[in-house]
Protein backbone atom coordinates (compact mmCIF):
# COMPACT_ATOMS: atom_id res chain seq x y z
CA UNK A 1 0.00 0.00 0.00
CA UNK A 2 2.72 2.46 0.99
CA UNK A 3 4.70 1.57 -2.15
CA UNK A 4 1.72 2.54 -4.32
CA UNK A 5 1.39 5.84 -2.41
CA UNK A 6 5.10 6.46 -3.03
CA UNK A 7 4.99 5.61 -6.74
CA UNK A 8 1.83 7.73 -7.20
CA UNK A 9 3.68 10.60 -5.50
CA UNK A 10 6.63 10.23 -7.88
CA UNK A 11 4.31 10.14 -10.91
CA UNK A 12 2.56 13.35 -9.75
CA UNK A 13 5.93 15.03 -9.24
CA UNK A 14 7.17 13.86 -12.60
CA UNK A 15 4.10 15.32 -14.31
CA UNK A 16 4.32 18.55 -12.33
CA UNK A 17 5.58 21.37 -14.59
CA UNK A 18 7.61 23.12 -11.89
CA UNK A 19 9.36 19.88 -10.93
CA UNK A 20 10.14 19.21 -14.56
CA UNK A 21 11.77 22.62 -14.85
CA UNK A 22 13.77 22.13 -11.63
CA UNK A 23 14.95 18.63 -12.62
CA UNK A 24 15.90 19.88 -16.07
CA UNK A 25 17.86 22.75 -14.54
CA UNK A 26 19.58 20.37 -12.12
CA UNK A 27 20.65 18.10 -14.98
CA UNK A 28 22.05 21.02 -16.96
CA UNK A 29 23.80 22.40 -13.86
CA UNK A 30 25.32 18.97 -13.09
CA UNK A 31 26.55 18.52 -16.67
CA UNK A 32 28.14 21.98 -16.79
CA UNK A 33 29.73 21.54 -13.35
CA UNK A 34 31.14 18.17 -14.36
CA UNK A 35 32.77 19.66 -17.46
CA UNK A 36 34.06 22.59 -15.38
CA UNK A 37 35.55 20.38 -12.67
CA UNK A 38 37.18 18.03 -15.18
CA UNK A 39 38.73 20.94 -17.10
CA UNK A 40 39.84 22.62 -13.87
CA UNK A 41 41.78 19.57 -12.80
CA UNK A 42 42.99 18.33 -16.20
CA UNK A 43 46.45 19.12 -17.50
CA UNK A 44 45.49 21.20 -20.51
CA UNK A 45 49.00 22.40 -21.13
CA UNK A 46 50.41 21.42 -24.50
CA UNK A 47 53.85 22.75 -23.59
CA UNK A 48 56.55 20.52 -25.05
CA UNK A 49 59.00 18.86 -22.73
CA UNK A 50 62.49 20.20 -23.00
CA UNK A 51 65.29 18.50 -21.23
CA UNK A 52 68.13 20.87 -20.51
CA UNK A 53 71.56 19.42 -21.14
CA UNK A 54 74.20 20.67 -18.71
CA UNK A 55 76.90 20.11 -21.31
Amino acid sequence: MSLKVFTDFIKRMWNNSLMQIIMGAALIWAALMLIFIVMLNADLSAAPEFIYNQF
Binding site: S17, Q20, I21, I22, M23, G24, A25, A26, L27, I28, W29, L32, M33, F36, M39, L40, L44, S45, A46, A47, P48, E49, F50, Y52, Q54, F55
Partner: protein
Protein backbone atom coordinates in the same frame (compact mmCIF):
# COMPACT_ATOMS: atom_id res chain seq x y z
CA UNK B 1 9.07 26.82 -22.97
CA UNK B 2 9.82 24.49 -20.03
CA UNK B 3 13.08 23.45 -21.67
CA UNK B 4 14.15 27.07 -22.16
CA UNK B 5 13.35 27.87 -18.53
CA UNK B 6 15.28 24.76 -17.39
CA UNK B 7 18.27 25.77 -19.50
CA UNK B 8 18.32 29.36 -18.21
CA UNK B 9 17.93 28.25 -14.60
CA UNK B 10 20.63 25.60 -15.04
CA UNK B 11 23.08 28.15 -16.49
CA UNK B 12 22.32 30.69 -13.73
CA UNK B 13 22.95 28.01 -11.09
CA UNK B 14 26.20 27.07 -12.86
CA UNK B 15 27.43 30.69 -12.98
CA UNK B 16 26.59 31.12 -9.27
CA UNK B 17 28.48 27.93 -8.42
CA UNK B 18 31.53 29.00 -10.43
CA UNK B 19 31.50 32.38 -8.66
CA UNK B 20 31.50 30.56 -5.30
CA UNK B 21 34.42 28.33 -6.41
CA UNK B 22 36.27 31.44 -7.65
CA UNK B 23 35.81 33.20 -4.33
CA UNK B 24 37.02 30.16 -2.43
CA UNK B 25 40.09 29.76 -4.64
CA UNK B 26 40.93 33.47 -4.38
CA UNK B 27 40.96 33.18 -0.59
CA UNK B 28 43.31 30.16 -0.67
CA UNK B 29 45.50 31.89 -3.28
CA UNK B 30 45.91 35.03 -1.16
CA UNK B 31 46.87 32.85 1.81
CA UNK B 32 49.46 31.00 -0.27
CA UNK B 33 50.93 34.30 -1.50
CA UNK B 34 51.23 35.51 2.08
CA UNK B 35 53.32 32.43 2.92
CA UNK B 36 56.03 33.58 0.53
CA UNK B 37 59.06 35.10 2.22
CA UNK B 38 62.51 36.18 1.03
CA UNK B 39 63.62 32.58 0.45
CA UNK B 40 61.55 32.83 -2.73
CA UNK B 41 64.37 34.94 -4.17
CA UNK B 42 66.43 31.76 -4.50
CA UNK B 43 63.72 29.36 -5.59
CA UNK B 44 64.79 27.67 -8.83
CA UNK B 45 62.58 26.27 -11.56
CA UNK B 46 59.81 27.80 -13.61
CA UNK B 47 57.38 28.74 -10.83
CA UNK B 48 58.45 32.38 -10.62
CA UNK B 49 57.84 32.84 -14.32
CA UNK B 50 54.54 30.93 -14.20
CA UNK B 51 53.29 33.03 -11.28
CA UNK B 52 54.62 36.61 -11.58
CA UNK B 53 52.79 37.80 -8.44
CA UNK B 54 55.05 35.60 -6.33
CA UNK B 55 58.00 37.74 -7.38
CA UNK B 56 56.13 40.84 -6.28
CA UNK B 57 55.48 39.26 -2.91
CA UNK B 58 59.18 38.65 -2.19
CA UNK B 59 60.73 41.75 -3.78
CA UNK B 60 61.59 44.78 -1.69
CA UNK B 61 63.81 47.83 -2.14
CA UNK B 62 66.84 45.93 -0.85
CA UNK B 63 66.56 43.17 -3.44
CA UNK B 64 68.06 43.33 -6.91
CA UNK B 65 66.48 41.33 -9.73
CA UNK B 66 68.98 39.13 -11.57
CA UNK B 67 68.02 37.66 -14.93
CA UNK B 68 70.05 34.60 -15.86
CA UNK B 69 69.81 30.99 -16.90
CA UNK B 70 71.17 27.63 -15.74
CA UNK B 71 74.02 29.20 -13.79
CA UNK B 72 71.50 30.33 -11.16
CA UNK B 73 71.01 26.80 -9.84
CA UNK B 74 73.77 26.06 -7.42
CA UNK B 75 75.89 23.12 -6.47
CA UNK B 76 77.12 23.98 -3.04
CA UNK B 77 79.30 27.03 -3.60
CA UNK B 78 79.51 29.06 -0.38
CA UNK B 79 79.66 32.17 -2.53
CA UNK B 80 76.29 31.47 -4.16
CA UNK B 81 73.76 34.13 -3.06
CA UNK B 82 71.34 31.52 -1.65
CA UNK B 83 73.99 30.25 0.75
CA UNK B 84 75.60 33.64 1.38
CA UNK B 85 72.25 35.13 2.45
CA UNK B 86 71.15 32.06 4.42
CA UNK B 87 68.31 31.55 1.94
CA UNK B 88 67.05 35.12 2.12
CA UNK B 89 67.83 35.83 5.77
CA UNK B 90 69.80 38.96 4.88
CA UNK B 91 69.49 42.74 4.64
CA UNK B 92 70.29 42.44 0.92
CA UNK B 93 69.04 39.82 -1.52
CA UNK B 94 69.15 38.88 -5.17
CA UNK B 95 65.90 37.82 -6.85
CA UNK B 96 67.08 35.17 -9.29
CA UNK B 97 64.89 34.77 -12.34
CA UNK B 98 65.69 32.13 -14.93
CA UNK B 99 66.59 28.51 -15.57
CA UNK B 100 68.44 26.64 -18.31
CA UNK B 101 67.67 27.99 -21.81
CA UNK B 102 65.92 31.13 -20.62
CA UNK B 103 67.68 33.78 -22.72
CA UNK B 104 67.20 37.39 -23.81
CA UNK B 105 63.74 37.11 -25.38
CA UNK B 106 61.98 35.34 -22.48
CA UNK B 107 63.74 37.79 -20.17
CA UNK B 108 62.38 40.70 -22.19
CA UNK B 109 58.93 39.32 -21.39
CA UNK B 110 59.90 38.64 -17.76
CA UNK B 111 61.23 42.14 -17.08
CA UNK B 112 58.18 43.74 -18.67
CA UNK B 113 55.91 41.56 -16.54
CA UNK B 114 57.63 42.10 -13.20
CA UNK B 115 58.78 45.73 -13.57
CA UNK B 116 55.79 47.09 -11.60
CA UNK B 117 57.12 45.20 -8.56
CA UNK B 118 60.71 46.52 -8.82
CA UNK B 119 60.84 49.35 -6.26
CA UNK B 120 64.53 50.18 -6.67
CA UNK B 121 64.37 50.18 -10.52
CA UNK B 122 67.49 48.03 -10.83
CA UNK B 123 68.07 44.89 -12.87
CA UNK B 124 71.09 42.69 -13.49
CA UNK B 125 71.38 40.68 -16.70
CA UNK B 126 73.86 37.80 -16.49
CA UNK B 127 74.92 36.94 -20.04
CA UNK B 128 76.19 33.48 -20.93
CA UNK B 129 78.25 33.25 -24.13
CA UNK B 130 76.44 29.99 -24.94
CA UNK B 131 73.25 31.98 -25.58
CA UNK B 132 74.93 33.38 -28.71
CA UNK B 133 75.16 30.18 -30.76
CA UNK B 134 74.51 30.49 -34.49
CA UNK B 135 70.91 29.33 -34.04
CA UNK B 136 70.26 31.42 -30.92
CA UNK B 137 67.28 30.47 -28.77
CA UNK B 138 65.83 27.07 -29.68
CA UNK B 139 62.13 26.82 -30.52
CA UNK B 140 61.49 23.84 -28.25
CA UNK B 141 63.35 25.50 -25.37
CA UNK B 142 61.30 28.67 -25.75
CA UNK B 143 57.99 26.80 -26.06
CA UNK B 144 58.67 24.60 -23.03
CA UNK B 145 59.36 27.62 -20.84
CA UNK B 146 56.75 29.98 -22.26
CA UNK B 147 54.57 31.56 -19.56
CA UNK B 148 51.13 32.85 -20.65
CA UNK B 149 50.77 34.67 -17.33
CA UNK B 150 54.06 36.50 -17.82
CA UNK B 151 53.19 37.45 -21.40
CA UNK B 152 49.88 38.83 -20.17
CA UNK B 153 51.66 40.89 -17.50
CA UNK B 154 54.15 42.10 -20.15
CA UNK B 155 51.39 43.16 -22.54
CA UNK B 156 49.58 45.03 -19.72
CA UNK B 157 52.66 47.14 -18.96
CA UNK B 158 51.86 50.54 -20.47
CA UNK B 159 55.43 51.79 -20.17
CA UNK B 160 56.51 49.43 -22.95
CA UNK B 161 56.12 50.89 -26.43
CA UNK B 162 53.76 49.31 -28.95
CA UNK B 163 56.76 48.88 -31.26
CA UNK B 164 58.58 46.75 -28.67
CA UNK B 165 55.44 44.76 -27.90
CA UNK B 166 54.96 43.99 -31.59
CA UNK B 167 58.60 42.89 -31.92
CA UNK B 168 58.22 40.57 -28.93
CA UNK B 169 54.98 39.11 -30.34
CA UNK B 170 56.65 38.55 -33.71
CA UNK B 171 59.53 36.69 -32.10
CA UNK B 172 57.08 34.65 -30.00
CA UNK B 173 55.16 33.75 -33.15
CA UNK B 174 58.36 32.60 -34.90
CA UNK B 175 59.51 30.51 -31.96
CA UNK B 176 56.09 29.02 -31.16
CA UNK B 177 55.34 28.03 -34.80
CA UNK B 178 54.10 24.47 -34.70
CA UNK B 179 53.39 24.56 -30.99
CA UNK B 180 49.69 25.11 -30.31
CA UNK B 181 50.69 25.94 -26.75
CA UNK B 182 51.02 29.69 -26.75
CA UNK B 183 50.35 30.17 -30.48
CA UNK B 184 46.66 30.98 -29.95
CA UNK B 185 47.48 33.39 -27.14
CA UNK B 186 50.04 35.24 -29.27
CA UNK B 187 47.62 35.40 -32.21
CA UNK B 188 45.00 36.85 -29.87
CA UNK B 189 47.36 39.61 -28.71
CA UNK B 190 48.35 40.35 -32.30
CA UNK B 191 44.68 40.88 -33.11
CA UNK B 192 44.30 43.24 -30.14
CA UNK B 193 47.39 45.22 -31.00
CA UNK B 194 46.31 45.56 -34.63
CA UNK B 195 42.90 46.88 -33.51
CA UNK B 196 41.01 43.92 -34.99
CA UNK B 197 39.36 42.91 -31.72
CA UNK B 198 35.57 42.63 -32.09
CA UNK B 199 33.01 42.63 -29.21
CA UNK B 200 32.56 38.87 -29.74
CA UNK B 201 36.35 38.42 -29.43
CA UNK B 202 36.24 40.45 -26.21
CA UNK B 203 33.46 38.28 -24.75
CA UNK B 204 35.19 35.02 -25.71
CA UNK B 205 38.47 36.33 -24.32
CA UNK B 206 36.78 37.38 -21.06
CA UNK B 207 35.30 33.91 -20.58
CA UNK B 208 38.59 32.19 -21.50
CA UNK B 209 40.60 34.49 -19.23
CA UNK B 210 38.21 34.03 -16.31
CA UNK B 211 38.54 30.26 -16.54
CA UNK B 212 42.31 30.52 -17.06
CA UNK B 213 42.58 32.74 -13.97
CA UNK B 214 40.73 30.22 -11.77
CA UNK B 215 42.79 27.34 -13.14
CA UNK B 216 46.02 29.28 -12.77
CA UNK B 217 45.33 30.11 -9.12
CA UNK B 218 44.26 26.54 -8.33
CA UNK B 219 47.42 25.12 -9.85
CA UNK B 220 49.50 27.56 -7.83
CA UNK B 221 47.74 26.52 -4.62
CA UNK B 222 48.26 22.84 -5.45
CA UNK B 223 51.79 22.92 -6.89
CA UNK B 224 53.79 25.77 -5.42
CA UNK B 225 56.57 24.57 -3.11
CA UNK B 226 57.72 27.25 -0.72
CA UNK B 227 60.85 26.91 1.40
CA UNK B 228 61.70 29.13 4.35
CA UNK B 229 64.43 31.64 4.87
CA UNK B 230 67.09 30.88 7.48
CA UNK B 231 66.42 31.61 11.11
CA UNK B 232 69.92 32.40 12.40
CA UNK B 233 71.12 35.98 12.95
CA UNK B 234 70.41 37.88 9.71
CA UNK B 235 73.38 38.35 7.39
CA UNK B 236 74.66 41.94 7.22
CA UNK B 237 75.84 42.16 3.65
CA UNK B 238 78.14 45.15 4.16
CA UNK B 239 80.19 43.02 6.57
CA UNK B 240 81.05 40.38 3.97
CA UNK B 241 84.78 40.28 3.18
CA UNK B 242 84.76 39.44 -0.52
CA UNK B 243 88.50 38.82 -0.74
CA UNK B 244 88.23 36.27 2.04
CA UNK B 245 85.23 34.79 0.24
CA UNK B 246 87.31 34.41 -2.94
CA UNK B 247 90.11 32.74 -0.98
CA UNK B 248 87.64 30.29 0.58
CA UNK B 249 86.12 29.72 -2.85
CA UNK B 250 89.54 28.78 -4.20
CA UNK B 251 89.92 26.18 -1.45
CA UNK B 252 86.45 24.80 -2.02
CA UNK B 253 87.03 24.60 -5.78
CA UNK B 254 90.36 22.80 -5.28
CA UNK B 255 88.66 20.13 -3.20
CA UNK B 256 85.92 19.59 -5.82
CA UNK B 257 88.13 19.45 -8.95
CA UNK B 258 90.64 16.65 -8.65
CA UNK B 259 90.32 14.38 -11.66
CA UNK B 260 90.98 16.61 -14.69
CA UNK B 261 93.13 19.45 -15.98
CA UNK B 262 90.24 21.74 -16.90
CA UNK B 263 89.24 22.84 -13.35
CA UNK B 264 85.87 21.16 -13.82
CA UNK B 265 84.23 19.53 -10.82
CA UNK B 266 84.76 15.78 -10.66
CA UNK B 267 81.16 14.61 -10.97
CA UNK B 268 80.52 16.73 -14.08
CA UNK B 269 83.71 15.49 -15.73
CA UNK B 270 82.82 11.87 -15.01
CA UNK B 271 79.22 12.27 -16.24
CA UNK B 272 79.63 14.33 -19.39
CA UNK B 273 83.25 14.32 -20.56
CA UNK B 274 85.41 11.44 -19.41
CA UNK B 275 84.09 8.77 -21.79
CA UNK B 276 84.28 11.01 -24.88
CA UNK B 277 87.32 13.07 -24.00
CA UNK B 278 89.35 12.03 -27.06
CA UNK B 279 86.48 12.64 -29.49
CA UNK B 280 85.81 16.07 -27.96
CA UNK B 281 89.28 17.35 -28.75
CA UNK B 282 89.01 20.04 -31.47
CA UNK B 283 85.28 19.37 -31.79
CA UNK B 284 84.44 23.11 -31.78
CA UNK B 285 86.88 24.48 -34.34
CA UNK B 286 84.01 25.69 -36.54
CA UNK B 287 81.84 27.09 -33.75
CA UNK B 288 81.24 30.80 -33.30
CA UNK B 289 79.44 33.20 -30.95
CA UNK B 290 79.79 36.17 -33.27
CA UNK B 291 76.75 35.83 -35.44
CA UNK B 292 73.51 34.95 -33.71
CA UNK B 293 69.84 35.99 -33.56
CA UNK B 294 70.49 36.36 -29.82
CA UNK B 295 72.14 39.75 -30.42
CA UNK B 296 68.88 41.24 -31.71
CA UNK B 297 66.99 39.64 -28.82
CA UNK B 298 69.49 41.20 -26.38
CA UNK B 299 69.06 44.60 -28.03
CA UNK B 300 65.29 44.25 -27.69
CA UNK B 301 65.66 43.33 -24.01
CA UNK B 302 67.86 46.40 -23.38
CA UNK B 303 65.49 48.65 -25.35
CA UNK B 304 62.63 47.48 -23.15
CA UNK B 305 64.73 48.05 -20.00
CA UNK B 306 65.36 51.62 -21.20
CA UNK B 307 61.64 52.16 -21.86
CA UNK B 308 60.98 50.95 -18.31
CA UNK B 309 63.64 53.40 -17.04
CA UNK B 310 65.50 50.64 -15.24
CA UNK B 311 69.14 50.90 -14.22
CA UNK B 312 70.85 47.93 -15.83
CA UNK B 313 74.01 46.03 -14.94
CA UNK B 314 75.10 43.71 -17.73
CA UNK B 315 77.48 40.95 -16.63
CA UNK B 316 79.75 39.37 -19.24
CA UNK B 317 80.76 35.89 -18.07
CA UNK B 318 83.78 34.16 -19.64
CA UNK B 319 84.00 30.68 -21.09
CA UNK B 320 86.25 28.02 -19.54
CA UNK B 321 89.45 28.92 -21.39
CA UNK B 322 91.14 25.57 -20.74
CA UNK B 323 88.18 23.59 -22.08
CA UNK B 324 87.47 25.87 -25.01
CA UNK B 325 91.16 25.71 -26.09
CA UNK B 326 91.01 21.91 -25.88
CA UNK B 327 87.89 21.77 -28.09
CA UNK B 328 89.48 24.20 -30.55
CA UNK B 329 86.93 27.01 -30.15
CA UNK B 330 88.83 29.92 -31.78
CA UNK B 331 90.24 32.38 -29.25
CA UNK B 332 89.75 35.26 -31.71
CA UNK B 333 86.04 34.42 -31.94
CA UNK B 334 85.72 34.47 -28.15
CA UNK B 335 87.46 37.85 -27.99
CA UNK B 336 85.19 39.19 -30.72
CA UNK B 337 82.15 38.03 -28.74
CA UNK B 338 83.34 39.83 -25.58
CA UNK B 339 83.96 42.95 -27.66
CA UNK B 340 80.43 42.70 -29.13
CA UNK B 341 79.01 42.74 -25.62
CA UNK B 342 81.09 45.79 -24.69
CA UNK B 343 79.80 47.61 -27.76
CA UNK B 344 76.19 46.73 -27.02
CA UNK B 345 76.59 47.95 -23.43
CA UNK B 346 77.90 51.27 -24.80
CA UNK B 347 75.17 51.46 -27.42
CA UNK B 348 72.43 51.17 -24.79
CA UNK B 349 74.36 53.11 -22.14
CA UNK B 350 74.20 50.37 -19.53
CA UNK B 351 76.81 49.52 -16.93
CA UNK B 352 78.95 46.49 -17.75
CA UNK B 353 80.67 44.14 -15.30
CA UNK B 354 83.21 42.68 -17.70
CA UNK B 355 84.49 39.37 -16.28
CA UNK B 356 85.76 38.12 -19.65
CA UNK B 357 89.39 38.32 -18.53
CA UNK B 358 88.80 35.40 -16.12
CA UNK B 359 88.80 32.70 -18.81
CA UNK B 360 91.84 31.01 -17.29
CA UNK B 361 91.15 31.66 -13.62
CA UNK B 362 90.80 28.27 -11.93
CA UNK B 363 87.48 27.71 -10.12
CA UNK B 364 85.89 30.84 -11.63
CA UNK B 365 83.59 28.44 -13.45
CA UNK B 366 82.70 25.05 -12.08
CA UNK B 367 82.44 23.25 -15.45
CA UNK B 368 82.58 24.20 -19.13
CA UNK B 369 80.18 27.12 -18.74
CA UNK B 370 78.54 27.62 -15.32
CA UNK B 371 79.59 30.07 -12.63
CA UNK B 372 81.50 28.38 -9.86
CA UNK B 373 83.04 29.07 -6.52
CA UNK B 374 85.12 32.13 -7.39
CA UNK B 375 82.82 33.31 -10.16
CA UNK B 376 79.92 33.76 -7.80
CA UNK B 377 82.09 35.75 -5.41
CA UNK B 378 82.98 38.20 -8.20
CA UNK B 379 79.39 38.38 -9.44
CA UNK B 380 77.82 38.95 -6.02
CA UNK B 381 80.45 41.56 -5.20
CA UNK B 382 79.68 43.34 -8.47
CA UNK B 383 75.92 43.23 -7.93
CA UNK B 384 76.21 44.56 -4.38
CA UNK B 385 78.45 47.39 -5.60
CA UNK B 386 75.89 48.24 -8.30
CA UNK B 387 73.13 48.26 -5.69
CA UNK B 388 75.08 50.50 -3.27
CA UNK B 389 75.85 52.95 -6.05
CA UNK B 390 72.26 53.26 -7.19
CA UNK B 391 70.14 52.80 -4.10
CA UNK B 392 68.41 55.94 -2.88
Amino acid sequence: MKKILSFILGVVLFITSVAAVDSNINGAYDKKLNDIDRSWNYNGGLDKMKYPETIGQALNKDTVVMLGSSELSYYDEKSHPAILTDNGNSDFNIMQVGIGSIQSLPHAINIGGIEPYIENKMVVINLSPQWFSETGLRNDAFASRFSPAMLEAFMKNDKISMESKKKVLNRCKELLAGYSYGEDLVADYEKKVAGRYTPVDKLCAWIKNKFADIKFKKSMIDDLQITSQGTDEPVIFSEIDFQRLKNEAEEQGKAECTNNKFYIYDDYYDTYLKDDILELKNSNVNTSYCSSPEYDDLRLLLKICNELELKVLLISIPVNGYWYDYTGFPKEDREKYYQNIREIADEYEVELLDLSTHEYEPYFLKDVMHLGWKGWAYVVEGIYGFYKKNVE
